[in-house]
């Protein structure tokens, strides 16, 4: 028994999730008019940024692992 997802799979999933969240957080910004979405938009932005940063970190780790030193 082992977790089937590899590191590359996690990176791919993080990339897709980060794009969805960043785009959503931007589209529901009050600058584009009232969206009537009853959610805490600041927290959504925080989550989007968090996932985006985690994705960047995993990319850096992947590059570091694949670079032959």
């Amino acid at each position: 028994m082992q977790f089937p997802l590899s590191f590359s799979d996690i990176i791919l999933w993080l990339a897709i999730t980060a794009i969805i969240l960043l785009a959503t957080s931007e589209l529901i910004s009050p600058y584009y008019g009232k969206t009537n979405l009853l959610i805490d938009k600041n927290r959504l932005r925080l989550a989007a940024l968090g996932v985006g940063i985690v994705f960047i970190v995993t990319i850096l780790v992947q590059i570091y692992l694949m670079t032959p030193f």
Binding site: S8, L12, E26, N42, R45, A47, Q62, T67
Partner: protein, 397 residues
């Protein structure tokens, strides 16, 4: 649809006992309809978040047991979105029309008392030196229409009715709102300048507190013109205007009053609301403030009190995108230059050539063209958002 026993007019019997029964029946029907309405109007709860978490956990366990890709992806996504739904669920939202319902009676009564006592003058918002603390504020409504500023000594005695000049001294309706502006911005208005207020209030109103769609503050000599569109207070303001004559110029509504309080703090001068109007489509408010005296220049706040992190986030999203895009584009540029000068490669080979085995491919066959597209999209979208936001914010002069 609920099971309702609708009563037809023709069925109504005017016997007192029957009437009581009919009324009870109608009340029951009314209650059922109210429940039905609540079902449709209900706010999202945390149930969906817990449900997603539960199914996500099951999928993850199954993926480990059967070592399968699909339940693993499903599980990780469901768990993540479940946690996210719980994180972003609305706990502090109330319907905007509650503002009007809760405050309009008190506001109208105060204005009626003022009108009946024959206080005809415009409300003079007094600067912090007239109050005991910097978070305190006073509005003086004189009996005469001419604006006479009372002496500091007279106001600091905390009397309600002043004799010289004759008038009433009240706590402004928007005082707590001004204190909230300071808290949200992490600034002390008494140490800020008018320019700071012009630049920070649009962001606070539109993005921080979400109480308006646009906000603009313009200064012309000693007059400050504030334009607010689609504010949540617009119904309150128009209702107050209908119910009470001169309501806005004497004891103004919380929104107009809060801006007046903020202006007295930044300028250190008394302020009056000269004029207040609402557009015919009931979308835009125009408020004209008059600063009594010349504006003194104050430096920007050197040490912010406290600023919630959420306030920075929208800019941070753009900044992170722009930085990432720039780094990726710079790296692509450097790689292209290196390949051309060192290996004499042509552009087609550099951008579309396979990089399998190199770190660039990330083990999934990524090519240089993909980096170029990602970098360009990130950079251009952040630039586009930056200009869109500047346009939307309607910053003052």
């Amino acid at each position: 649809m609920p099971k309702t026993n609708r009563v037809k007019n023709s069925e109504i019997n005017y016997d007192p006992m029957t009437l009581v029964e009919t009324i009870q029946q109608l009340e029951t029907e009314n209650e059922e309809l109210r429940h039905e309405l609540w079902k449709h109007k209900r706010k999202p709860t945390g149930k969906i978040g817990y449900l997603l978490l539960f199914f996500g956990a099951i999928a993850l366990v199954l993926s480990i047991i059967y070592t399968s890709y699909v339940p693993a992806f499903v599980g990780i996504s469901l768990t993540f979105w479940g946690a996210l739904f719980l994180f972003i669920k609305p706990t502090k939202y109330v319907k905007a029309h509650l503002l009007e319902s809760t405050a309009i009676s008190t506001f109208t009564n105060i204005n009626r008392i003022i009108a009946n006592m024959n206080y005809k003058g415009k409300g003079i918002y007094l600067p912090p030196q007239y109050s005991k603390g910097s978070k305190d504020g006073k509005v003086f409504i004189p009996t005469k229409e001419e604006s006479t500023i009372p002496p500091v000594k007279e106001v600091t005695q905390e009397k309600l009715f002043l004799e010289n000049p004759k008038g009433i001294c009240l706590t402004p309706s928007g005082l707590d709102l001004t204190n909230m502006f300071e808290y949200e911005l992490g600034a002390d208005f008494t140490k800020s300048s008018l320019e700071y207020l012009q630049n920070s209030l649009p962001k606070l109103f539109i993005e921080g507190l979400e109480i308006a769609e646009t906000f603009e503050m313009k200064k012309r000599e000693s007059t400050i013109h504030v334009t607010i569109s689609n504010s949540i207070y617009i119904d309150f303001c128009s209702e107050a205007k209908i119910l009470t004559k001169n309501a806005c110029s004497s004891f103004a509504c919380p929104l107009c009053s809060s801006i007046a309080c903020a202006l007295t703090r930044v300028t250190g001068k008394p302020v009056i609301i000269k004029k207040n109007s609402i557009s015919a489509d009931r979308k835009t408010m125009h408020i004209y403030y008059q600063i009594l005296g010349t504006i003194k220049k104050v430096s920007m706040p050197s040490k912010p009190i406290m600023r919630p992190t959420g306030f920075f986030l929208p800019n941070l999203v753009g900044l992170v995108s722009a930085t990432l895009g720039s780094i990726i584009l710079a790296w692509v540029g450097w790689l292209t230059w290196f390949d051309i000068t060192t290996w004499n490669k042509d552009l087609a080979l550099i951008f579309f050539g396979s990089r399998t085995g190199e770190a660039i491919s990330l083990g999934i066959g990524v090519r240089v063209i993909h980096y170029l597209i990602i970098g360009s999209v990130l950079f251009l979208s952040s630039i586009l958002l930056f200009f869109r936001k500047r346009k939307g914010a309607h910053l003052g002069d």
